[in-house]
């Protein structure tokens, strides 16, 4: 009985998921343009690193093949892992008082927004990732996308990729929730996002950062986002290290969700008391 209830409980979130996902698929032209953009972006990124490689190959902290795979994965899965992929609708709901409407629904706000964000990101990623990966796979040797370093790396790429995705969504939930507590959501958003951008390795892959600084950053939740799966894929992280990294991801996911739920509950209490 309890199990059936559980299924029913999540069914309504799944229908939100489905609705969002379908809505996202409609934007065909946008997806096409997105593919081109991401491809160009990855291409330029690879050219930058080529120029640096020509200066001093010895100073490269990872193999060129691993770096290329890292860059192409980053571009192909951009919608899954970029923190700036936020939904304006949610911000509007909070600032315009549409939140009252959401509260009338028999749903948990946190879970609903969580599913909604996942659906939104997935629908964008589905349309974009395949074309990029396929074209990238046909590029010549050091610049193209390679197969995973080993079957094991491939499997752990999928597992840590899912975990990283969950950490990203959980972090974005915190950004949404911060809107309840501030008068300037735009500002908070920009400050948070620009920090995360750098610390998650989307400006420069983390191995390129100076020693010492890098070790510190790798403990933060931001390094549990794209950094882990993309580097496992190309074998840059291997062996036992995979398990510790995945464990850290799991820890951060749980911590962020816990924090998010706590903050949502507190914020809603305030909304209810103040009358919106």
């Amino acid at each position: 009985m309890g199990k059936i209830n559980g299924i029913f409980r999540y069914q309504k979130y799944m229908s939100f998921f489905r609705m969002r996902f379908l809505a996202g698929l409609q934007y065909r032209a946008a997806a096409f343009a997105g593919v081109i953009t991401q491809f160009a972006w990855g291409f330029m990124e690879i050219l930058v690193f080529r120029a640096f490689y020509e200066v001093n190959p010895g100073a490269f902290p990872m193999t060129r093949e691993a770096l290329s795979s890292y860059i192409w994965l980053q571009q192909a899965l951009l919608a899954l892992f970029m923190t700036w992929f936020l939904e304006n609708d949610i911000f509007h709901t909070i600032t315009d008082g549409g939140i009252a409407y959401e509260l009338c629904r028999p749903t948990d706000l946190y879970v609903m927004w969580f599913f909604r964000s996942m659906a939104n990101r997935l629908s964008k990623a589905v349309l974009r990732c395949l074309p990029i990966l396929i074209v990238a796979a046909f590029l010549p040797a050091p610049y193209g996308m390679r197969l995973p370093a080993s079957p094991k790396a491939g499997l752990w790429f999928l597992i840590t990729g899912l975990l990283g995705f969950l950490v990203v969504v959980a972090f974005c939930m915190l950004v949404y929730i911060a809107t309840f507590y501030t008068y300037s959501p735009v500002g908070i958003r920009m400050v948070a996002i620009s920090m995360v951008e750098f610390l998650s390795g989307s400006v420069v892959p983390l191995p390129f950062l100076p020693e010492g600084f890098r070790q510190l950053i790798e403990l933060l939740p931001f390094a549990s986002m794209q950094n882990v799966p993309f580097r496992i894929y190309s074998g840059d992280i291997s062996g036992m290290e995979i398990y510790t990294r995945a464990g850290l991801q799991l820890f951060w996911y749980i911590a962020l969700v816990w924090l998010g739920k706590r903050l949502t509950a507190a914020a809603l209490k305030r909304v209810v008391i103040q009358g919106g």
Binding site: M44, L47, F52
Partner: protein, 258 residues
């Protein structure tokens, strides 16, 4: 011009109504470009140079492109947000007023928060100018100014093209970001870093090198050809095709409505 000034004052007043939000957004803008700076810093610490350009060269180059981009974005923000202007029928309202539409779009939105990016650009100028061994004289100063202004015009044209495309697609097309945001990000290195193909694209299709690479060579004393300093002016010819596209877009819009 007087009318533009009035709009300017009005937007300033509005921005000041939301002081806190303005402040945070400005800081955010500053930080976003600071990220890029950090990236450059760490990479050049590791590799020391790229294609013969050192840290101070790259920083100066980034400062120039960032400044011209921010100027264009601050004043041309109306075009950047044009998809919204069309979808909420704001553009219909503009057509009902007896002024040129370009003027109304430009004066309809001014993004003062881009001052954050300008500050970042100024910091980089300061660093680049003091650390690099450029012999600063009258001509070099003029070159710097022309680079910034020429860059603003080219970026402004790109925003105009972006808006013109919105007439056909209603929503903004993401790939235009390659030409605007992309050029800002990757224009931090002098454009010959990327190899021949990209360099040609950046000369003949969109005249980036005319305000970045060539005058930069003269600025940093890598060439004696003084006429390189005037190339940014030539780059302003990019206005012609951009304006033409806008006209075509307007005609299309008027025949399909929204």
């Amino acid at each position: 011009m007087r009318l533009y000034f009035k709009f300017f004052v009005m937007h300033l007043k509005i921005a000041m109504q939301y002081k806190l939000s303005f402040l945070f957004t400005t800081i955010g803008q500053f930080l976003v470009s600071f990220n890029v700076f950090l990236g450059v810093l760490f990479l050049l610490q590791r590799f020391h140079e790229v294609k013969g350009y050192g840290l101070s060269d790259v920083v100066l180059c980034y400062g120039i492109i960032l400044m011209s981009y921010s100027i264009a974005e601050m004043f041309m923000r109306g075009f950047d947000m044009f998809a919204g202007t069309i979808s909420n029928c704001e553009f219909d309202r503009m057509l009902l007023r007896p002024r040129s539409c370009i003027f109304q779009v430009v004066s309809g939105k001014l993004e003062f928060t881009r001052i954050g990016r300008m500050l970042q650009a100024l910091v980089m100028f300061a660093y680049g100018i003091t650390k690099s061994d450029v012999q600063w004289d009258m001509k070099r100063t003029v070159t710097l100014l022309l680079m910034v202004l020429g860059g603003s015009v080219v970026f402004g044209c790109l925003f105009l093209i972006y808006a013109s495309i919105c007439f056909f697609t209603i929503e903004g097309l993401e790939f235009m970001n390659i030409l605007t945001d992309g050029a800002r990000e990757y224009g931090k290195y002098p454009l010959d870093v990327y190899g021949k193909g990209v360099f040609r694209f950046c000369t003949y299709l969109v005249p980036y090198t005319l305000f970045q690479y060539y005058p930069f060579l003269y600025l940093t004393g890598r060439t004696d050809r003084q006429w390189y300093m005037l190339l940014p002016v030539l780059g302003c010819l990019f206005l012609l095709p951009s304006y033409l596209l806008w006209r075509v877009g307007m005609r299309h819009y008027k025949s399909t409505g929204s």
